[in-house]
Amino acid sequence: MDNEICKVIQNKELTKGKGIYEMVLQSEKIADAAMPGQFIHIRINAGYYPLLRRPISIHSVDKTKGTVSVIYHIKGQGTEELSRVKTDTAMDVMGPLGNGFPLLGNKKCAVVGGGIGTAPLLELAKNLSECDAYLGFRDCVYKIEAFEESCKSVHIATEDGSVGYKGYIIELLEQNIADYEVVYTCGPKVMMKCVVDICRKNKVECYVSIEERMGCGIGACLVCACKVQEENGEWHYKKACKDGPVFHAKEVVFDA
């Protein structure tokens, strides 16, 4: 494998001043290999600050054009600097990395995302023949049209009610949960916990994409440990970067 030097095709804010950006990278190799739910590990700059790469989920790939898109929000120094990267810059990217979502396209599926956690669900939706989307946001929505193109129906909730249902997206999911055999979810821990609970109660299969701080991104450093439960109740740590970031919901132990 190689880390790729990819050209930035586009890097622009999707929201007005809310700090949500989309970056499109040119990479035939990554576009070709990418599976929904995998991530890329981006080196922000050639210096020592920030030192570590930043893991960002693949949002969408265009295999014909050989491009990969990611959506990120400005959280700290790394993503802030990423947002200032100009078109045509050559970025050093590792990927695609990790284990994505299993594609159970013959079942009735829903993708349930919260905030920036909606990002990886688009490529997933594109790869499922029939699925509904449940997308929750705080106060600004993005990429809705893209989901509308790929999903049967798209449910939106915002905490401030500015778009769609006013409240949490899990409320909408709960109403319709009987319609699904499989649910895929990514978003804040609290949200994913609720989704997992709803699915368990309704005996719906569920897959979650989890976030852990990462070092190597490929399974060598063991900093990204994710607690998983065995059938027999014993737990141990798996690697979020290599065994995940997607896990079967019944495996994951949501601590604290």
Binding site: R213, G215, C216, I218, A220, C221, L222, V223
Partner: protein, 301 residues
């Protein structure tokens, strides 16, 4: 012909470029990025007698030009390593060095016995800041360094490397204690104990509160310690701490290191060890050095 060979006790390495324990798993992952046979040696993740789950997450924090980690020796245990991980590494033409950590002197000895001569050398980790028992407690006092080295040496069928902690007052006195006790080689530095706090929630970023600092930030401390130690001991020294380029590797070798290891920078550049190797080669060619000893330890004062 340029000769990059290094001798560590009875072990001969084809070149001085190694990987640092805990940053490189058991080699498999980086084996997808390049041919591990290029390396002088692979040092594997710290092993314990029984499998260990390690600390809670977050286990990593970023600091200026460095990182803090508190993995806490997550590993499958020495038996599983021998069964499941060593065979992969043995498909390559590179030395395999096992890094071992224990709670008691007996555990260290037992591990050395189990490893026997299945690995090419054993690195005694008595400097891990991330475990309560053992670890760093053994490595920061002369008498305990002496006695644990002496004991393990008796059970060790391959060259014994003692890995030193930088969290000490006088690194030379610790180094001399290890040498006197029979160490075949010293490696330094392990991580500096550090801490970072998230000012928004007032929580330490690491679940374990404190962790080990590594990366470019620590390089000046590491170079100084290698310099001080290499002057005083007769056994070879493996230098590490913040190496990110061939220039850094050359700096450690000039300071007195016989070999160098790349740790944290593997995360930044998965091919760092190979690029360092190529760069050191280029440096030697440019300066018409035939072998490492032409510039090793040759600080001009």
């Amino acid at each position: 012909m340029l000769n990059m060979e290094v001798k560590i006790g009875s072990l001969k390495l084809k070149n001085p470029i190694m990987t640092a324990s805990g940053t490189y798993g058991f080699g498999k992952e980086y084996g997808e990025y390049y041919d591990l046979s290029k390396l002088g040696a692979v040092v594997v993740k710290g092993l314990t007698l029984k499998p260990r789950e390690g600390n809670k997450t977050p286990r990593i924090a970023e600091t200026p030009a460095g990182i803090l980690n508190s993995v806490g020796l997550q590993n499958p245990g020495v038996d599983a390593f021998l069964e499941q991980d060593l065979p992969y590494l043995r498909t390559y033409d590179t030395a395999v060095i096992a890094n071992i950590a224990g709670n008691t002197v007996e555990e260290y000895c037992e591990m050395a016995e189990k490893l026997g001569s299945q690995v090419d050398a054993i690195e005694l980790n008595i400097s891990c800041p991330n475990v309560k028992e053992g670890g760093v407690a053994f490595g920061t006092k002369c008498d305990s360094v002496y006695s644990i080295t002496k004991s393990v040496k008796q059970h060790c069928r391959v060259p014994l490397i003692v890995k030193l902690s930088p969290n000490v007052r006088d690194i030379v006195e610790i180094a001399l204690a290890a040498e006197e006790a029979g160490a075949d080689c010293l490696s330094l530095i392990n991580t500096l104990l550090g801490m970072a706090i998230d000012i928004n929630c007032r929580k330490p970023i690491l679940a374990n509160v404190v962790g080990g600092l590594s990366g470019p930030a620590v390089k000046p401390v590491a170079v100084r310690m290698v310099y001080q130690v290499a002057k005083e001991v007769k056994i070879p020294v493996i230098g590490m701490g913040g190496i990110s380029s061939w220039q850094d590797a050359v700096e450690f070798i000039i300071a007195g290191a016989d070999a160098v290891a790349i740790g944290t920078y593997n995360f930044v550049n998965p091919k760092a060890p190979v690029e360092v190797l190529e760069g050191v080669l280029g440096y030697m060619e440019k300066n018409h050095y035939q072998m490492l000893s032409d510039f090793k330890g040759k600080v001009v004062l």
